[in-house]
């Protein structure tokens, strides 16, 4: 199942394509960046997507979702990737949303997810404390305090953390940094006393926050999953988020490649189109293959989730290992083949190269995921 689009998904793709072409050409992302917009995306457009059912497309209907699965979400994310739309799918839906969906009590889900689905509320996942992806390298502590916890620590690279209403936070209730056991996932309201959120801008024009928890009180009811057992929850969340991110990356690959191909067919040097040079033709053919292969692995990973297969983790790591490698290749070749003009901020291809580098390193690079894949395969 799932290597080709169903009738419904074909219709969805056409809708999404028209929507993004009309409302969110790449130019919009540049405007948001250049205006130093403090939100970093369009709240209005996000609510429109909520209205179309795309935010909650994987959520159950009970919380305002469409229950259409990751193959459908992938269709929307691919179109996001094509136009570099910076709306908070990764932070709100894939990371924060999934944490709630997989680990949240019915009460918490009912409280938060309908507003997430509609686009009113934004979430984030504050887990990262160092540069390289290492999900269990958590020192932020959550000390037991009567019926709840007191959270102390600092988080970096919290995607869209600067505009999130709830900060899903990974803290340590036992053990020490790097250990799988002893992690607890909590929902912290952004306006809780002791929470400081500072906005950072990223090279791809998106936003991440530096968040400090200074003795922040969190109620025990706001724990997702089990205390001390957050790792299993996080694994499931990261697998889904990784697969979603890969779907977005595939869209960016395809668009960056098509633009590069157009350039090869149009640009003249030495009296001929540069696309007539065999070395460039071969490299373009190789890139095409890399993208097709990545796309296949990502489609398969999406249906692994939708079909409830037991190899979701393996699929997620296979997909991200491939997509990170391809991101490096396509980002580099896209600029190289555009020549000097590709180095200018004015030419949009550079925006793709930056986004692809960010995506390459987010949620684990190719080496990380090949090692993880190897571990899952028993070697």
């Amino acid at each position: 199942m799932g290597l080709i689009l169903t009738e419904d998904q074909l219709i969805l793709r056409n809708m999404a394509k028209s929507f993004f072409d009309e409302k969110s050409p790449v130019e919009r992302m540049r405007r948001l960046r250049d205006s130093q917009d403090t939100t970093g995306y369009s709240r209005e457009l996000w609510r429109e997507m909520g209205g179309l059912g795309w935010i909650g497309i994987t959520f159950p209907e009970s919380v305002g979702g469409a229950d259409m699965g990751y193959s459908a979400l992938g269709v929307v994310l691919r179109e996001c990737g094509r136009v570099l739309a910076p709306e908070p799918f990764v932070s709100t839906v894939l990371l924060g949303g999934n944490a709630l969906l997989i680990g949240g009590s019915d009460k918490l889900q009912e409280e938060l997810l309908p507003k997430v689905s509609s686009g009113e509320r934004t979430l984030c996942l504050a887990f990262q404390e160092q540069g390289r992806f290492a999900p269990y390298a958590v020192s932020t502590s959550a000390a037991s305090d009567g019926g709840g916890f007191r959270v102390r620590g600092e988080k970096r690279f919290v995607l869209d953390g600067h505009v999130s209403d709830q900060i899903v936070t990974v803290a340590r209730t036992a053990g020490s940094s790097g250990e799988r056991a002893g992690l607890t996932v909590l929902v912290v309201d952004a306006d809780t006393p002791g929470v400081t959120v500072e906005r950072s801008e990223l090279l791809d024009g998106r936003n991440a926050a530096y968040i400090k928890f200074d003795d922040v009180a969190v109620d025990a009811e706001r724990v997702l999953g089990e205390v001390d057992c957050g790792a299993a929850l996080l694994d499931a969340v990261f697998d889904r988020a990784t697969i979603g991110l890969c779907a977005e990356m595939v869209g960016s690959f395809e668009e960056a490649f098509e633009r590069t191909l157009e350039y090869l067919k149009m640009r003249e040097q030495f009296g001929v189109k540069i696309g007539t040079f065999q070395a460039l033709r071969h490299r373009a053919a190789h890139m095409f293959g890399e993208i097709e292969f990545a796309r296949s692995v990502v489609l398969d990973a999406q249906s692994a989730i939708d079909d409830g297969r037991d190899d979701v983790a393996e699929c997620a790591s296979a997909a991200k290992a491939r997509c990170s490698d391809v991101a490096h290749l396509i980002g580099g070749e896209a600029i190289q083949m555009h020549g000097g003009i590709g180095m200018t901020d004015e030419e949009e291809i550079g925006l793709f190269a930056k986004r692809l580098k960010a995506a390459e390193l987010t949620l684990g690079d190719a080496n990380y995921h090949r090692n993880r894949f190897a571990g899952l395969r028993g070697y």
Binding site: I4, A285, A318, F373
Partner: protein, 387 residues
């Protein structure tokens, strides 16, 4: 036959196999099996027309429709029956069915479905490899015959073949693609000389074939005279599809997965391969194999669904060659100097096999269209970059 339900048919095949396929042949390969058993098994298949299950019964085929034929193949595969395929069944037969005259079909197809005549393929020449259409072997009309002069190379099994299907130039003046004919003639005749070629892996399955006044009957030209290029391309297309579809061929033939092999040679400590670099390489190869398999499957599904499928036959061949060679390169790194043996003590048989396999697979990026040709085709046909 095709009127029985698939399930009934499968049942029938299964009991037939139990009766006709000796236990010792159920190994998934034809290599090194006892000749006597193999001959009997072949006769049994022939009696049902099951060497060529989809061919019409009048030509010795099984007369099965696509679904019944697929069911038969599935059963044969499940019981690991040795496949009895040949250039006749895979290449010439389908070509004759599409382009041959009734007379040609009557003359040649039954021999093939009965596994009586061994065919070889006369395509490449020393000066015409990637650029096949520049072939120079000439066929000159002489009464009811053609007289053939020239040289072929890379002719698989020429030393064992009874007949050859051969590309020859019948019009020297025409543009190179328009003077080629596709012709059939016997190998056992004066003017045909076969000289086996030893390859770097020590094998000698290929030959050079020299024609000096060999004769073919004019009625054995398939398709129009000077219209052979269309047929040749069609046949190559068929060959390319077959290759791209096979998954991790070499590793498969080794009867051990690449992962199991590497784990055994390199060792696993605390569940982790003892060498972190080879661990990465192995993961990369496994992901590559997965991606190739999924991509070929996706292409088939897209084609079936009528969704805009780009032709990825060339991509499949290119990546398949890369993958197979990558696997062998990894195997050599895992073996270290144990992968360098040719013969003698100190090397296990499986290690010696690996050495040869590494060398054999050097050809995978050359035959059936070099990597370079595949990339050219992708750039031109799929990406449509003007030349």
């Amino acid at each position: 036959m095709s009127s029985t339900s698939i399930e009934e048919f499968r049942q029938e095949v299964r009991s037939w196999l139990e009766k006709n396929l000796p236990q010792e042949l159920r190994v998934g390969s034809r290599k090194g099996l006892p000749k006597d058993s193999l001959r009997k098994w072949t006769e049994a298949l022939v009696s049902r027309g099951w060497i060529t299950p989809e061919w019409p019964t009048e030509y010795g085929g099984g007369g099965l429709d696509r679904k019944h034929a697929a069911a038969l193949k599935a059963e044969l595969k499940a019981i690991r029956a040795p496949m009895i395929t040949s250039f006749g069944t895979m290449m010439l037969g389908p070509t004759l069915l599409e382009f041959g005259t009734d007379e040609q079909k009557q003359e040649f197809l039954p021999q093939i479905s009965r596994h009586e005549v061994v065919w070889c393929q006369g395509y490449s020449e020393p000066g015409a490899g990637s650029d096949l259409a520049s072939l120079q072997t000439r066929a000159v009309r002489d009464g009811d015959d053609y007289v053939i002069t020239g040289q072929k190379i890379w002719t698989t099994g020429a030393d064992k073949a009874d007949w050859i299907f051969c590309l020859v130039r019948t019009d020297l003046a025409a543009p190179k693609h328009e003077g080629i004919s596709f012709i059939l003639f016997p190998m056992h005749q004066p003017g045909v000389e076969v000289s086996p070629l030893t390859l770097i892996d020590g094998s000698a399955d290929f030959s050079q074939v020299f024609f000096d006044g060999a004769r073919a009957q004019a009625k054995h030209v398939v398709g129009p005279v000077n219209g052979g290029w269309t047929i040749a391309k069609r046949l190559l297309q068929h060959e390319r599809t077959t290759d791209g579809g096979s998954e991790g061929g070499i590793t498969g033939a080794m009867k051990e997965t690449l992962a199991d092999f590497v784990k055994r040679e390199v060792g696993v400590e605390n569940g982790v391969l003892a060498d972190p670099q080879l661990r990465q390489r192995l993961a990369q190869q496994e992901i590559e194999a997965k991606a190739l398999k999924l991509t070929m499957r996706r292409a088939r599904e897209e084609a079936r669904a009528g969704q805009t499928a780009r032709d990825i036959g060339s991509l499949g061949k290119y990546r398949w060659a890369n993958m197979v060679q990558g696997e062998q390169n990894l195997a050599m790194l895992a073996l270290g100097t144990q992968g360098l043996g040719w013969s003698g003590p100190g090397f296990e048989d499986t290690h010696l096999e690996r050495t040869r396999a590494w060398l054999t697979t050097r050809a995978d990026s050359i035959w059936g269209g070099t990597n370079e040709v595949q990339l050219n085709v992708i750039a031109k046909r799929v990406l449509e970059i003007p030349e």
